[in-house]
Every structure is written in structure tokens, then in C-alpha cells.
């Protein structure tokens, strides 16, 4: 474990998994949506559902959706701040099969886009996104990440990697998932450098690619 994972993070209490990790799930979801959510449906599963209220899991997720980091002192007041910001939200418990005990299911709606996401808080404030828009995924949201929704047809992956290569962006890890052969597929590429904004329209114009999402963690250290 890295030194500043043993000492740290700086966070709003009381729990790194139920509070800090929950805030990171909310904030990662907002970054993936690419805009401020206007409506949020927040489902809590397992220990998030049973002890979430006492740990402030509900407030932490809402704080994250409002773009607060896990150490933001306004985190406990997030419900009132959401009202001020005009973000509607509902929180309820959900039943899932074979999910991590600290899992949240978020459905977000912004002015331009919609997003659904399932993520787990896996300890020490770290998270894993386990599905995005109904397709399985597995990434931590702690690296610059490019997410592509596409048709499961030959050539889509080559288009994406060619575009990254042309800009000298190194791929640290790459995963591909699909709902069914020839169905909806998702590519998750964690990159070593910043993903430029104009890559989004460029790849979005490629035939077979439905949606391009960038998560640049170096925008907001």
C-alpha cells in the first residue's frame, strides 16, 4: 500500500468505505455524466442500505453528485445544498444479486445526457465502477479514463486505439465488455495522460460508436 494510502486520505468521517468511498462514487458518476445532474435516483445495496444513514452514505453520494470531494466540509449539508442547486434526488434500498456489500446504483439525468452506473466502495475510500449504462465494466475512476459505447462490430477498437496513438496517448489498461454478440459493447481505456476534449466529437462521429465519455482525473486533483 502506498504511503499516503496508509496515512490518509483526508476525509469527512466517519467511514472510509461508507462515507469517503460513497462521495467518490457520486463524484465519479457526475464526471462521467459530464455535467451537473438535474435528477438522481440513488439505490443503496447491502451494508450501504442497512448502515448507510448512520454513516452518512446518503449525504456523501449526494455531495459527490454536487462535485464535492470526500474531504469537503460541506458534505454533511449536501441535502440542503442539492435543493439550492436545483438537483432532485430520491434514495431507496435496492436488491442486487452477487454484488459487493457496499454497492450503489445511480441513475442520473442532466440537461444533455443520461447515465446509469453501478459502483462499489471497496475499502480505504477506493471504488470500482462495475457497470455503466447496463453493461458490465470494472474500473476505479482514479486514472484518466475513456469510455466508449459501441456496436459489437469489427473495427471499433482499432478506430479508438488509432485515434489515441495519433495523439501519443499511452494506454495503461484496456477492457472490453459486451451485452451479447453483436449487441451493445463498452470499452474502458485507462490512459497515462490527459484525454483532450476534441477526441470526444471525433470518436463520436465514427460509425458504430454510440457514446464517448471522458473522465480526466488530472482536471481536478
Amino acid at each position: 500500500m502506498r504511503l499516503f494510502d496508509v496515512l490518509g486520505p483526508v476525509m469527512i468521517g466517519p467511514s472510509s468505505s461508507h462515507t469517503a468511498g460513497a462521495a467518490r462514487i457520486g463524484r465519479t458518476a457526475r464526471q462521467l455524466l459530464g455535467e451537473a445532474p438535474m435528477r438522481a435516483d440513488i439505490g443503496l445495496y447491502g451494508s450501504f442500505a442497512t448502515t448507510g444513514r448512520g454513516h452518512g452514505t446518503d449525504r456523501a453520494i449526494v455531495a459527490g453528485l454536487l462535485d464535492m470531494k470526500p474531504d469537503d466540509p460541506r458534505l454533511p449539508d449536501s441535502f440542503a445544498l442539492a435543493e439550492e442547486a436545483g438537483m432532485e434526488f430520491v434514495i431507496h434500498s435496492v436488491e442486487l444479486r452477487a454484488a459487493h456489500p457496499n454497492t450503489a446504483v445511480l441513475t442520473l439525468e442532466g440537461k444533455r445526457r443520461k447515465l446509469s452506473l453501478t459502483a462499489a466502495s471497496v475499502g480505504g475510500g477506493r471504488i470500482r465502477v462495475t457497470s455503466i449504462d447496463g453493461v458490465s465494466a470494472d474500473f476505479g475512476g482514479d486514472a484518466n479514463t475513456l469510455i466508449i459505447h459501441n456496436e459489437d462490430t469489427p473495427g471499433c477498437i482499432a478506430e479508438v486505439t488509432r485515434a489515441l496513438a495519433a495523439r501519443r496517448i499511452n494506454i495503461a489498461s484496456m477492457q472490453v465488455f459486451r451485452s451479447a454478440p453483436g449487441g451493445e459493447a463498452v470499452m474502458v481505456l485507462e490512459c497515462d495522460s490527459h484525454i483532450p476534449a476534441d477526441l470526444e466529437p471525433q470518436l463520436g462521429a465514427v460509425s458504430g460508436i454510440h457514446k464517448v465519455t471522458c473522465l480526466n482525473v488530472d482536471d481536478t486533483p
Binding site: 500500500m1 496515512l7 490518509g8 476525509m11 469527512i12
Partner: protein, 294 residues
């Protein structure tokens, strides 16, 4: 690459002719891709947050369940009135451990050290020394590197998660880290720092994680006091030349094995120990009915 054993950490410091703090700092730089200046600035920031948490403590604040808050102020009042045992330092350690752990339960900002549940232990032993003028910020930050180094070894060989190893992995680990930090601050040798850590962790071996209603409140807040006071006692033993009969790495390995032997009821599920007492269960039922579900 961080050290996988205390023995390796001590050997590195000896061979390089550097302090334990420098050994830990250097081992992290390659891995974290930080410069030494960045790393030191980050450590200074953590120390500033620890100070700010204590400074901003509000004795009127209560946790959402109402179970936690205000106790640190009681200790300070009783200490000021001369009612307590153990002298000024031990009273301050007790009050500071409660302060930071209460702040955590009350959704204030803390440094997880190594976890949120055990965040009170390190600041408890360090803040009074800084306030009494016994250690400046640079010395405290060096001691925090030493603490982190032992924490990294515990993470590598055992665990720092209560859900995996019980409270011995959280407050026990924090106590070991704090004992090593104190021993280092008071000029102890690397070997005596390792002894202090070994004795502190060994003393808390088997400590279970049994949070009432699953919350980081009861008994977590008061266990931070035990971790801090145990750290002081073990640092004092090590500084007196007392050696841990069992080497630090072997104590850590034993902690990991004991964690695996603990029933899941005693690993953060809120199903055993104090959580399963009639009063613990009654509190859990009351909170559940108040909450009306999520």
C-alpha cells in the same frame, strides 16, 4: 517499492546510513512518482489537518445517532480541575484521542491514520508534544513517516481493515504506528522503534471489531484512547531498553493469522461482541426504528 518487512526497513536504513524516516520516504518516491518536496508538503498538510481537527473540536456537536460527542471536553475539564491520574501528558493524550475520534463520528474532517475508525491514535500522542514545545513540525512529520513505514509493513503482511482483521488491524495497527513514532521522536534507535511497534501491536492482539448498530461510534471512539495510551506505554518500555521478545514482523504475521481466525461476527459486521449485548442490540433497534429504513 515499500518495505515488505520491518527487518528490510531497518537494514536499508543501516546500509544507507540514513534515518528510518528517510528510508520510508525514499522507498515511496519511486512508487508514488512524487518528488521529495511534494511528499514532504503532503505530509505537512496531513499534520496541519490533524491540528485543525483538534482546534475546531466542538463539544456541543453530536453524531447522527446521538451516541457520540462531548466526551473530550469532559476529560479536559476534569484534568484542569486536577481530578485525573497520570499527569498532564496522559490527560492530554486521552482528550485528543477522543476529540479526533468524536470529530470523525460527527462527520468532521479527519486524516485516516491508518483508517477513519482509528484516526484518533496518532494525533493523540503527537499533538500534546507539539503543544508542549517538545517537537517541532519537521520532527513530527519525520515521525509520521516512521509511523507510515510500519503501517505499510502491516498492510503488506497482514491487513489494516477491521472487516478483515478486527479492531487489532485498525486501532492495533494505529497503536503500533504511534508507538514507533513516539520512540523515534524521543531519539530511540531503529531497533527500539521496531520493538515499540511490536509491543504495541502484540498488546492489542485479538482485539475484535464489534461496532454497535454497525456505526463507527461505540466502542470505536474510546478504543482510540486505548490505542494511544498503549502506544505511550510501549514507547516508554522501548526507550527504557526493553525489547519485544517476539520480533515486529512475527507479531504482524500473528496479527494477520488471528484476524483470519476471528469469527465474521467479530469483524465489523456488528453481530458480535459489544454490538450483540442486550444494550447494544437495543440501541441498534432504536436507531433502525428512528431511521425508518434508508
Amino acid at each position: 517499492m515499500s518495505f515488505l518487512s520491518c527487518a528490510e526497513m531497518l537494514t536499508y536504513a543501516h546500509e544507507q546510513g540514513c534515518s528510518l524516516a528517510q528510508a520510508v520516504l525514499r522507498s515511496d518516491l519511486a512508487e508514488s512518482r512524487l518528488t521529495e518536496a511534494d511528499s514532504r508538503a503532503e505530509m505537512r498538510r496531513l499534520w496541519q489537518v490533524m491540528q485543525a481537527t483538534s482546534r475546531d473540536y466542538d463539544p456541543d456537536r453530536r453524531s447522527r445517532s446521538g451516541l457520540v460527542g462531548g466526551d473530550a471536553a469532559k476529560v479536559e475539564r476534569a484534568a484542569a480541575a486536577g481530578q485525573l491520574l497520570g499527569g498532564e501528558y496522559l490527560s492530554a493524550v486521552t482528550a485528543e484521542a477522543l476529540k479526533t475520534a468524536e470529530c470523525n463520528a460527527c462527520m468532521k474532517r479527519i486524516v485516516a491514520a491508518p483508517t477513519a475508525g482509528s484516526c484518533g491514535v496518532l494525533p493523540a500522542v503527537l499533538l500534546p508534544l507539539a503543544r508542549m514545545g517538545e517537537a517541532d513540525d519537521d520532527a513530527i512529520c519525520d515521525a509520521l513517516y516512521v509511523a507510515a513505514g510500519f503501517g505499510q509493513v502491516i498492510a503488506a503482511r497482514a491487513t489494516l481493515a477491521g472487516a478483515e482483521g478486527g479492531c487489532q488491524a485498525e486501532v492495533g495497527a494505529a497503536s503500533a504506528m504511534a508507538a514507533a513514532a513516539l520512540c523515534y521522536l524521543k531519539g530511540g534507535t531503529p531497533a527500539s522503534c521496531a520493538s515499540a511497534a511490536a509491543m504495541a501491536l502484540g498488546n492489542l492482539l485479538g482485539l475484535v471489531c464489534d461496532p454497535v448498530a454497525g456505526l463507527v461510534e461505540v466502542p470505536c471512539v474510546k478504543r482510540n484512547v486505548v490505542g494511544a495510551v498503549n502506544a505511550v506505554a510501549c514507547a516508554n518500555m522501548a526507550l527504557s531498553g526493553i525489547d519485544s521478545a517476539i520480533p515486529c514482523d512475527e507479531v504482524i504475521d500473528a496479527m494477520g493469522r488471528v484476524g483470519l481466525q476471528l469469527s465474521p461476527d467479530l469483524r465489523e459486521t456488528g453481530a458480535g461482541g459489544l454490538a450483540a449485548t442486550p444494550t447494544g442490540r437495543a440501541i441498534a433497534r432504536r436507531l433502525a426504528s428512528e431511521a425508518g429504513g434508508v
